[in-house]
Assembly symmetry: C2
Homo-oligomer: 189 residues x 2
């Protein structure tokens, strides 16, 4: 196996353990045991538990940042932009639900520079979301409700998708995208 | 101060500590210190940390159960029932956001009988919610989207309200009810 694949395999196994027990409770020994290898050989691929955590979380946060920047800077209308944000969250959830558990539960365990970098990206993401909603209101492309309530109602659902969707064996990802966009943007009534 | 008020005061102080540090990390000594009293005098009012946790969580779960049962058994149409569920969550959040943090984060620390009782109430609550949505679909009172997606989209927002709303100093509770009902049921588009 190529070193890069081995590293990815370690990161994936760690994400599952972090999700189950929380970052703080997981040791490198636990990780080695879960992978059926010796703890010492983990260090051929990664330097520390912290390196694993930051690889998981910063990678995901950058993915959201790149995706959101594309959406914000596009020429589409507000509803299309909101649809694209929902798609982005669903795509990331489908690819890496375990990693999203680390991002949501363990981001505060990032160390100094990575913690600041993460918090900056998260803030910019929310600010971009809020700007899309505000501009949509100004242009009359969405209904005149309170901006914070609209942002919270949408983000709270998208941010917990990683907990719920992996249990839904009967919902195809195409149905998920179609119906979630409808429910979140057009409502059930 | 009457014994009942003192007990309630202890429970309220504990809910704040549980929210900040998590149930497991809080000791009776921490609680006494936060209240400026001796640890021994806590035991004049309550028997254990577990008694406090179960009083908080079972009390809230019973409140949701009673509220949901009224809604399910009413003669109102589906949209009105969903509006009443949103109102119920907002009312409970306004009254006891700190307690909801315990319910969401620390329910798994309930002991045997209370844990089973809580899980039973939570399951019945979700089943009742699902039934309202299913019957609404059959009657054509809501749009024909996937039931689980509709239930998740609504509940995920209502269940995280306790984290978000206490920070929103500029949103009056009347606006919250009005706009959240509109956003969740009618959408922003």
């Amino acid at each position: 196996m190529r070193p890069e694949s081995r590293k990815q395999e370690i990161i994936n196994a760690a994400a599952i353990l972090f999700k189950e027990k929380g970052y703080s409770a997981v040791t490198m020994r636990d990780l080695a045991k879960a992978m059926g290898i010796k703890a010492a050989s983990l260090y051929n691929h990664i330097q520390s538990k912290q390196e694993i955590l930051s690889t998981i979380i910063i990678g995901l946060a950058e993915e959201f940042t790149v995706g959101m920047n594309k959406i914000v800077n596009s020429d589409e209308n507000t509803i299309q932009k909101l649809e694209n944000i929902i798609d982005l969250h669903i795509d990331v959830t489908l690819r890496n639900a375990d990693g999203l558990a680390s991002l949501n539960n363990d981001w505060m365990h990032l160390e100094e520079d990575n913690l600041q970098y993460f918090e900056k990206m998260r803030q910019e993401y929310e600010d971009n979301f809020r700007d899309i909603v505000k501009k949509g209101l100004e242009k009359g492309e969405i209904k005149p409700y309170n901006v914070e309530i609209m942002v919270f109602s949408t983000l709270s659902t998208l941010r917990t998708l990683y907990l719920w969707y992996p249990e839904q064996k009967e919902i195809d990802s195409d149905i998920l995208k179609r119906d979630m966009i409808s429910v979140l943007l057009k409502g059930v009534a």
